[in-house]
């Protein structure tokens, strides 16, 4: 292999992960740790989206479908079948991946692209949400409560930091996986399909297979985020697991952070949720009460600003205005 740790792009990943890993020693407050853990879950969901949409150009508007499969998968495996959550986790991820394969097969075989594909994914997520809300197996509108039994062997931690580090391990794995894909033949093919599918086919790229592989991986990664979500809050219902909120955050984070880049989802999730949190706190302080949905206003403004001034996201903007950032690329 040519190039060292840094020219290959793995070095920066290790540094960022190391910094995130020592963060809990700086903030001991539970609320901060809770918040950071949540940011990592959204990051992971967004990394799944970024692989399919950022690299592969297939814009999904329904990643909640995968997130919910992961969340319900791990919750129901415990509550209905008495499975250990550590065992249920890979099953839930597999369920998300399989959902991705099926959804991809149905829509890509039918040659759905662009907004048609986006609408179909949205429809799938909504159908899952309605079914989960109606079926007694999934607990209906009351949702699923995972019984509290705080033991590491039961995927429930007394120390909030343990959960944070676990979520960080998932995010780190997804960062490394994304970088490895970006540098592989599969990654090149994925980007080629995004840029021009016909040209890619002419060069021997099996576009359908490439897209299916991408949506399968994407579904698995976002399902892992859903599983973590379920284990963090120990309660899910249809609107939490399959609701549009996660579809929106999974796509907003990479778009704002830097679409089709390794760090985009992480940067976007930190910025998005960070600013959302600050705004909520500020308005609560200002008006003496919470203003529901004020963070969504911030999301909207951020999206508009990004589309207008930073089409390559915040990282792209930094890259452009800070010449020092370009040092590594000679």
């Amino acid at each position: 292999m040519k190039g060292g740790l840094f020219t290959s792009g793995y070095g920066p990943i290790l540094i960022v992960v190391a910094i995130l890993a020592v963060l809990p020693f700086g903030f001991s407050a539970n609320t901060t740790l809770n918040f950071l853990g949540f940011v990592l879950i959204v990051t992971l969901a967004a990394q799944g989206w970024n692989l399919l949409a950022g690299y592969g150009g297939q814009f999904s508007f329904g990643h909640a479908a995968f997130f919910g499969m992961g969340a319900y998968g791990i919750a129901l495996a415990q509550v209905r079948f008495g499975l250990n959550p550590w065992l249920a986790l890979p099953l839930a991820i597999a369920l998300g991946a399989l959902t991705g394969t099926i959804l991809g097969y149905l829509s890509f075989r039918a040659r759905l692209r662009g907004s048609y594909f986006a609408l179909v994914t949205l429809a799938f997520a909504e159908v899952f949400r309605i079914l989960a809300n109606a079926s007694t197996f999934t607990g209906g509108a009351a949702g699923v409560l995972i019984p509290l039994r705080i033991e590491a062997a039961n995927f429930q931690f007394a120390d909030k930091r343990s959960f944070y580090w676990l979520a960080l391990a998932f995010v780190a794995f997804a960062l490394l996986l994304t970088q490895a894909i970006a540098r592989s033949r599969f990654g090149a093919y994925l980007v080629a399909v995004r840029e021009n599918e016909d040209a890619a086919r002419a060069l021997g790229v099996d576009a359908l297979a490439v897209k299916l592989k991408a949506i399968t991986l994407s579904g698995g990664i976002t399902a892992a985020a859903g599983s973590l979500y379920a284990q963090k809050f120990l309660y899910i219902d249809a609107n939490l697991a399959f609701g549009p909120w996660i579809s929106v955050e999974a796509l907003l984070a990479p778009i704002i952070g830097g679409i089709g880049t390794v760090f985009g989802p992480l940067a976007g999730a930190v910025l998005l949720l960070g600013l959302g949190e600050i705004t909520k706190t500020f308005f609560t302080w200002l008006l003496g009460g919470a203003v529901p949905g004020i963070d969504l206003v911030v999301f909207g403004v951020l999206l508009i600003l990004c589309v207008a001034f930073a089409p390559r996201g915040v990282l792209g903007l930094l890259w452009r205005i800070l010449p020092a950032f370009r040092g590594g690329r000679a």
């Binding site: 540098r183 980007v191 021009n196 016909d198 086919r201 060069l203 021997g204 576009a207």
Partner: protein, 254 residues
């Protein structure tokens, strides 16, 4: 030659609704040749070409490559077997650099990143794209994009290269520059089928020329023979044109 041709198209017909774009057209391309496919606008050249490359299914007829029937194979499988094409309307991966564009083609035979990138660099140099390796493909000139189309297709290491009007839209000096490039590709062992409007180039480059008019193959032979074939002249200039020309020539000789 007793061996089978590299590419054999037999009785290709392609209908779009009521329109017959290609009508029972057959064509052989001998290994090692540069074969030209010419014809007036709307003759069905590009449709015929698309069928060979696997981007459209023929209504009837068959395509065989190296003696193997490939009529039902999708485009990417044909590329694996060694058929590469360029697009008349260039289709660069605009967001990628020249190097990355060509590497997508090179990955077909070189799964490793370093090998694919090295290969891409070699090919870029061969096609005169060396100085533009790190430029975005979207920023290339028309001539540059045409070269990139060829470079990408060549990177798949084909035995048959289908060139769809690679000279169209180029100025005369750019065409002069391009002719030796095409010839060098053939000399490196790649058989070429070229659809082209620029006659001067066709005459200089091709060993054999086939003429398609209104979906039918009306003539085939050496470039000079085809150019003086009355059927070909009529296809281009209208009914009776060959006779009128002969008459005029007769007059001026008298």
């Amino acid at each position: 030659m007793s061996t089978a041709p590299l590419l054999r198209c037999t009785g290709i017909t392609k209908r779009f609704g009521g329109l017959v774009a290609v009508d029972d057209a057959s064509l052989d391309v001998e290994a090692g040749s540069i074969t030209g496919l010419i014809g007036p606008n709307g003759a069905g050249k590009t449709t015929f070409f698309t069928v060979i490359a696997g981007f459209a299914e023929p209504t009837a007829g068959s395509v065989s490559f190296k003696g193997r029937d490939i009529t039902a194979l999708p485009a990417h499988r044909r590329a694996e077997l060694g058929v590469a094409r360029t697009f008349q309307i260039v289709q660069p991966f605009a967001g990628l650099t020249v190097r990355e564009n060509i590497a997508v083609g090179a990955y077909l035979r070189h799964p490793g990143r370093d090998a694919a990138l090295d290969r891409a660099e070699d090919i870029a140099r061969r096609l005169g794209l060396g100085p533009m390796l790190d430029q975005s493909a979207g920023d290339l000139t028309v001539a540059g994009r045409k070269r990139l189309e060829m470079a990408r297709a060549l990177a798949t290491e084909p035995s048959l290269l289908l060139l769809d009007e690679v000279l169209a839209g180029l100025n005369p000096s750019e065409i002069r520059d391009m002719i030796p490039v095409v010839r060098a590709i053939r000399d490196s062992g790649v058989t070429i089928l070229i659809v082209e409007h620029v006659m001067q180039a066709v005459m200089q480059l091709c060993d054999t020329v086939a003429v398609l008019a209104q979906g039918r193959m009306i003539a085939k032979g050496r470039p000079a023979e085809v150019a003086s074939d009355p059927k070909v002249i009529e296809a281009y200039l209208g009914h009776g044109a060959a006779k009128r020309m002969q008459a005029q020539q007769g007059d001026s000789h008298a």
